[in-house]
Amino acid sequence: MASNKKYWKSEAELNPNDSIVETLRQNEFSEEIPVDEFLGDKENLSASTTNRRDFLKYVGFSTAAATVAACEGPVHKSIPYVVQPDTIVPGVANYYATTIADGFDFASILVKTREGRPIKIENNTDAKVNGSANARVQASVLTLYDSKRVQGPMANGEPIEWKVLDATVRAKLGSLKGSNRQIALLTQTYASPSTEKLIAEFKAEFGDNVNHVTYDAISEDAALNAFNAAYGERALVDYDFEKADVIVSFGADFLGDWQGGGYDGGYAKGRVPKNGKMSKHIHLESNMSLSGANADKRYPMTAAQQKIALAKLYGKLNGTNVGGGTSDVDEAVDKIAAEIRKAGSKAVVVTGLNDVNAQTVVLAINKLLSSEAFDTENPKYVRQGDVAKVNKLVSDMNSGRVGALIIDGVNPVYSLPNAEDFVAGLEKVDVSVSFAFNNDETAQSVGYVAAASHYLESWGDAQLKKGQYSLMQPAIRELFDTRQFQSALLTWMGSDKTYYEYIKENWDTAILQGSDWNQALQDGVFVASASAEVAEEPVAAPVEAEEEQWEIAPIASSIRALVGATSQGTELVLYSKVGMGDGRQANNPWLQEFPDPISRASWDNYVTVSKADAEKLGLKNHNVANGGLNGSYVKLTVDGTVLENVPVIIQPGQANGTVGLSFGYGKQAGMQEELATGVNAYTLYKNFSDVQSVSIEKTAGEHEFACVQLHNTLMGRGDIIKETTLEIFNTKDHHEWNHMPQVTLNHQEIPVTSPDADLWEEFDRSIGHHFNLSIDLNACTGCGACVIACHAENNVPVVGKQEVRKSRDMHWLRIDRYYSSEDTFEQDDEKKESMDGLWGDNGSLGGFGEMEDPSVNPQVAFQPVMCQHCNHAPCETVCPVAATSHGRQGQNQMAYNRCVGTRYCANNCPYKVRRFNWFLYADNDEFDFNMNNDLGKMVINPDVNVRSRGVMEKCSMCIQMTQKTILDAKREGRVIKDGEFQTACSAACSSGAMVFGDINDKESKVAELKEDDRMYHLLEHVGTKPNVFYHVKVRNTNEA
C-alpha cells in the first residue's frame, strides 16, 4: 500500500523555489564527509601495514585474549596499617557515644564505625531525653560523606588558606574592638553550655558591640516568648506524654518536629493498651500531620478556628465565658472539655500555633489542670531562635551598623523570608564569614566561606533539657580542610586551647561535679544532680538578661485576641516533613528518596489541598499509564511574593480553606542537580509566621510525582490492618476483634493455622533460635526512622525520582499508610459486607469504586511491611534455581549470587516486599548518588553485599546482625540474653513498636508478645505462617 503522503521537514520545503531545499535534497550530509582525504591518500594507505585480514586477526585475537583473561582472577592488593591504632581491629565495629545538635535535630546517639569510618547511627539508650535518632539523624551519617561539601576555606569563591582567613578576621575584629559597629554572630541554636560560655568570653574579649543572634530557620519564637513571660527563661516546656491520659493538640505535630521533636517514645508508651487503659489523643489541625494521623479523634480546622477553639476551651475549663458567640467549633470544644475534665491532671494540652497568645493560654491551661505531663521545672533548650533579634540584625546590617558578621549553622539567604534584605545588608558588612557545609546560598553571598566540619568530626556538648547534658565527640578526623565554629572562635580570640580542652575544662569545673570526664564521654550523656543546676544557672542567664522584655498581655487579652481570630481567604500552613526537616540535609539522597509518611511521595514538596478546595480550583491528581501520579500546578501568592509551579497533592484530611506546603525544598546552591528538588517555601514564611493568607491560581502543565503508594484506601479489607476500639477490646473476647480466618475441611470449619489445613509438613523449629519480629500498630507512629536505618544497614541503593515513579524503589522496609473511605475503617468493613449484587445502591460495582476514594477526614493507619519471612514461603517454592530458601532460624534467605532474575518470587509474594535490581546502582553514572563516588561509598556496610543488576533482593531480617550476636556469644561461651538480638529497624524504633527476638527463648519479650491476644499475621488466610507479626490497632474512641 503505497502512501501518497508527503512528509516535509521544515517550512522552507513548502516553497518549491527555495534553493536551500534543493541543495539539501542533493546532499545527504550537511557537511562533506572527508572520505577522499583518507582513501585518496594512496601513499598513506599503502604505507599502512594493517590490511583487512590483519584487522580480523586482531579482532579475533583480542576477543580470545579477553576471554582467557576473564578466566584469570584479578590481583587484589591488601594494604595494612603501618602502625595500627590499638582500638581498631579490622572487621570489628566500634561504637562511640556522641550528640547531634545541628540546630534542628538534637539527639544523643551512638555512632557505629568500621575501620575508622562512621557507617551508622544508633540510639543511645542511656539517654533520658532525645536518645533516639529520627529519620534525618539516621541519615546524617551520609551527609558526612556529601560529595558537595566545602572542602576548605574560600574567599569570593577561590580557595584560600585558613591562616589567611584567620588573619583577615582577627584584623577586622581587632579594629572593631570597642567601636560602635557591631560584631554580629548569627548562629543556629546550640543548646551548648560550652559554646555559650565561649561566646560570652568572645563578648568579653571584643566588647559590648558583639551581638549574638540565634536564628532558627523554622521558628518556635512564640512558644519561647510565652514561656519567657511566664517563667522567666527563654526555653520550651517539656512534656511527658507517657503520663497523660488525654492529649489534646492544637496543631502541634509533636510526633514530627514540633519544638524539636523527640516525643514519640513517651507518647507510644501511653498508646499501648495496658490493663484496659490507653491514652486518648484528640487533634485539631489544618494539614494532615503525623500526629494527626495517629490521633483517636481528629478535627480538621483552620488556624483561626483552632485559636477560637483554644480560647473557648480555656473558658470552659475555667468556667468563664470568653465570648465569641456560637461557632462551628463549639461541639468539638464541648467534647474536648468533657474529656479533659474527666482526666483532670492526667490531661495535657499542647499547641503548635506560632502565636504568643495561643502559647500563653496553653501554658495557663496546663497549669490550671496541674498536668502531670507538663514539666516547666526542667525545660528544654533545643530551640532558642529570636525573631526580633534576627529582624533587628537585618535592619542593622542595612543601616551599616554591622562591621563583621560571622554565620554558623544557618543558611539565612535560603531560609530567611526577607532574604533580599539580608543580601543587600551583607554588602554593607565589611567582613562576612559563613561556616558552611555546602557551598550554599549564604556561602555564595558572603565574603569568606569557612569550611565547617560535620558533627561527626567535631567536639561539642549540649544541654538538651535542664540538667540533662550530652557530649559530642568526633568519630573520624576531618575529611577535608575544615574547622568547627568554636575552634575558629578560640583561634580568633587568640587562645591556643583546642575546643576539646575548652569543653573538658568547662565540664570539669561547671558540670561534672567531680564525676569522671571519661565516663561521661563514654556514656555520651550526663545527668546533673539538682545542686548543679543551680550552679549552672548563670551560664544560661546572660542570654536571658539581655532579652528585651517581651510584652505579654495578660491571659484575658490573650483570650480576647484568640477569640477574635479570623482568617482572610485561604490559609497557607507551612510545615516541615519528617524526611527533610528545615532542609539542611537536602543534599542527602537517602532523605530525598524517603517517602513522606503521609503523602508517600518522595523527591518533592507540594501543596496539599483538600478535595473540596481542589474541585473548586479545578486541581487534579491522577495516575498515568505507567502508574505514576500526576498533579496540577498552582501559583501561590502571599503578600506579593509569588511561588510559581507548585505541584498539588489532594490530601484527605486537609481542612477546607487551608493548604499546606513543606519547608526544606527548593535549595539550589551547593546541591547536586538531581537532588535540587521542590520549591522554597521559606519565601512565603512572612514574619516567621507559619500561617499565611494565600491566593491560589491554577497554572498550566502537570507535575510528575514519585509516589510509592498509589492506592490509598483499605477497601474494607479489615484483615490487613486489624482494628478495634478500646471498648470492644476491653469487653469482648479476642476471637471477635482478632478473628482467626477459618477454612473448611470435611465440611467443618477449622482455623487456617491448623496443621490439617496445611499442604506442607511442618518443620520443627523448636531447637536453636527462631526469630520473630513483632510490630505493634498502636505504638508505631509511622515516623520512618526504621526505613532510613534499614537503608544504612543493608546498603539499599538510591534509585532516583524517575525510577521511584516507575515503582522501582528499593526500600526493603516500607510503611504503608491507609485512609478510610468512610469516616472510619470499621464503616468501610461494614459497607463492604453489606454489598449485594453488582448493581444498585448496595452494588459492588459502584461500591468498590466509591471505596477507592478516601474520606474527607479519614482515619489513618500505618503499617510497616518488610519481608514477612514466611515459614511456608510462596517465593521459595517457585524459584527455579533455589536462590531463596529457608533457614532453621526462621529467616527467608536470599542468595544473590545464585539468583538469575526471573522475578517469579516477587510475583508470587503476597506481601510485595521483594525488590528487583533493574540496573546496576553502584558505580553507574546514570544513578549518580552516594554509591557512585568514593566519598559516598564510605558509608557502605562492609558486612552486607552490594547487589548487582538483575538480582532480586529483600529484607534479610538483618541476618548479619543476628549472626554477629550469636558469634559473640559463642566466642564468650555464654547464653544469649533477651534484647541482644536486634534488627536495624527494631534498634532504630524509638517508640518500641518493633520488638525483635528469639521466640524459642520463652522468657523473651517477643515470645510474650506472640502470645498476646492482639497478635495477628498479615494475610493469615493465605497460610504463609510469617515470622513477622502485628498487634491489632486499638483506637480509644471512648467518649467522656
Partner: protein
C-alpha cells in the same frame, strides 16, 4: 629438661669457682679482673639479658658493646666497678649525676637502661669476657662453605647414575639391532623367505574399525564423555586459584617465622581471634621483633640449610629486612623512627568473593580449628601460597564432616542437648547446626 640440667651444672661450676676464688679473694682481686669470665657463659647471659637492646658491633637501642670494657677504660678512664654499678642500677647512677652516665642517657634518647640487680659480678665478668672476645663461631666456619656441597653431592651422583643407565640402555638397543641384523642375514643365507605381503592383504585396522558401527558408536560415546569430563574439570577450575603464590613486595618467609622460629600464627594475625579478617599484620607488629633482629644469620647446618640451598642467601634476607625498615620508616643508624612511612602493598593470596561471608574468629576461636586446616603447611612455605581451593564445595564438605566443638561452651549446651536427641547422635556436625544454609554465608 636440658636447660634445667645445664643450669644446675652452671651453678655447680659457679659454686666451685667461687669456692676456689674465695680462698685468695683479696690477693686475687686484680688477677680476677685480668683473668675475666667465661665467654661461653657470657654469650648465653648476653643473649638472655642484653641482646634485645645491644649488639656487639652495632648501635641499637643502646650502644654497641664489643670491647666495651677496654673502650671505657681507654676513652673515659672508667673501670669495671663503674660498669658493675651501671649495669646493676643505671637509673640510680643517672640520678646521682655521674657525668658519663648522663651523657649516655642523653645520647640514647633518654631511654634508661633496665637495671639488672640480679646479675652477680661474675655474671657481668662473663658477659664482658664475651663482649671482649666472643667465642668464635669460626669453629663451624670452615664447615660453612662445605655445606652447600653436601646437598649437591647426591645431585651429581644421581646424574651419574642416570647417565650410566642411559649408556647401558643405548648399548642394549644397539646390540639388539645388531642381533636382528645378523639373524636376518643368517635367514637370507638359509633361504628363508620373510613373509611381508601377508600383512598387506589384511583390511587396514582403521577401515575395519570404521566398518564396525558398534565400535564407532561406543568410541564416539566414550570420546564425548571423556571430553565432557575433561571440559567440565577444566571449567570448574576457572576462578579457583589453588596454588596461587604471587610475588610479594617483601619476600616474607612463613617458613622462617612460623616454621624455624615457631612463632604462633595468631601472634601476628591477632585479629583472627576476634574478627572476620585474619588481618595482615601492621608493620609495627613486625617491628616488635625486627627492631632487634636486623640481619638474617641463617645457620647452614640448621633449618635454613634448605633456604640457602634454594639460593636465598643471608644477604638476601637481610635486604628484605631493610625493605621493612624503609616501609616503616626506621632509621637504623639512629635507632629511631623517621615518620616517613610507605605502607606495604601486599598481594592478597586468599580471595574469597564478596558475596561469601567468612569469619575467622568463628573458625579459629569458637571451633578451635588449626590455621593449617585451611591454609596448609604454612610453616613450610617459603613463599605463601593458596593451599585450599576455597570453593563452596570445599567449605560444604568440611561443614558436613566436622564436628562442632561444643564442650565447655555454655552457648551450645541447650542446642546440643536438643539437637543430638533429634538426630540421635553424640557429636553434631556443622551441617546439623545449620551450617549448610545459604544465608549463613551469603548476605
Amino acid at each position: 629438661m636440658k636447660k634445667v640440667l645445664y643450669r644446675h651444672l652452671f651453678s655447680k661450676v659457679l659454686g666451685l669457682s667461687l669456692l676456689f676464688f674465695s680462698v685468695s679473694i683479696f690477693a686475687q682481686e686484680e688477677a680476677a679482673e685480668a683473668s675475666g669470665g667465661d665467654a661461653a657463659k657470657g654469650k648465653q647471659l648476653f643473649n638472655q639479658n642484653c641482646a634485645a637492646c645491644h649488639s656487639l658491633d652495632r648501635k641499637m637501642t643502646g650502644p654497641a658493646l664489643a670491647n666495651v670494657e677496654a673502650r671505657l677504660l681507654e676513652d673515659e678512664g672508667l673501670d669495671k666497678e663503674w660498669l658493675y654499678t651501671w649495669i646493676k642500677n643505671s637509673p640510680g647512677m643517672i640520678k646521682s649525676g655521674d657525668s658519663y652516665a648522663n651523657k649516655i642517657y642523653a645520647e640514647y634518647n633518654q631511654a634508661a637502661m633496665t637495671a639488672f640487680p640480679t646479675l652477680s659480678n661474675q655474671d657481668i665478668d662473663d658477659i664482658l669476657a664475651y663482649t671482649a672476645a666472643p667465642p668464635k663461631t669460626a669453629v663451624k666456619g670452615p664447615e660453612g662453605p662445605e655445606t652447600p656441597l653436601t646437598p649437591s653431592e647426591p645431585g651429581i651422583s644421581n646424574e651419574l647414575i642416570l647417565g650410566a643407565l642411559a649408556l647401558v640402555f643405548g648399548l642394549l638397543v644397539i646390540m639388539l639391532l645388531l642381533v636382528n641384523k645378523t639373524l636376518r642375514r643368517i635367514a637370507e643365507a638359509n633361504g628363508v623367505v620373510l613373509e611381508k605381503e601377508k600383512a598387506e592383504k589384511r583390511i587396514p585396522i582403521w577401515k575395519a574399525f570404521a566398518q564396525n558401527q558398534f565400535l564407532v558408536l561406543v568410541t564416539a560415546i566414550f570420546l564425548l564423555l571423556a571430553s565432557g569430563y575433561f571440559a567440565y574439570g577444566w571449567m570448574m577450575q576457572v576462578g579457583v586459584d589453588q596454588g596461587y603464590a604471587p610475588v610479594q613486595p617483601i619476600h616474607y618467609s612463613h617458613k622462617i617465622h612460623a616454621g624455624d622460629n615457631k612463632i604462633e600464627c595468631k601472634y601476628c594475625h591477632s585479629s583472627a581471634r576476634v574478627s572476620k579478617h585474619s588481618g595482615i599484620p601492621s608493620l609495627n607488629v613486625c617491628m616488635n621483633c625486627h627492631k632487634s633482629i636486623y640481619e638474617y644469620k641463617g645457620n647452614p647446618e640448621g633449618p635454613s640449610a634448605e633456604d640457602l640451598a634454594n639460593g636465598y642467601t643471608n644477604e638476601f634476607y637481610t635486604g628484605e629486612i631493610r625493605k621493612l625498615y624503609k616501609a616503616v620508616g626506621w632509621d637504623e643508624e639512629n635507632q629511631q623512627y623517621t615518620g616517613e612511612t610507605q605502607p606495604v602493598e601486599w598481594v592478597r593470596v586468599h580471595n574469597l568473593p564478596d558475596f561469601a561471608y567468612f569469619n575467622h574468629s568463628q573458625h579459629v576461636s569458637v571451633a578451635g580449628i588449626e590455621c593449617q586446616t585451611c591454609h596448609g603447611p604454612v610453616e613450610e612455605m617459603e613463599i605463601m601460597e593458596q593451599f585450599a581451593p576455597l570453593t563452596m564445595g570445599w567449605c560444604i564438605n568440611c561443614h558436613r564432616e566436622t564436628n562442632v566443638k561444643m564442650e565447655g561452651n555454655e552457648y551450645y549446651e541447650a542446642i546440643h542437648a536438643e539437637l543430638s536427641k533429634k538426630y540421635e547422635v553424640e557429636e553434631l556436625t556443622a551441617a546439623m547446626m545449620g551450617g549448610l544454609e545459604c544465608g549463613k554465608c551469603h548476605y
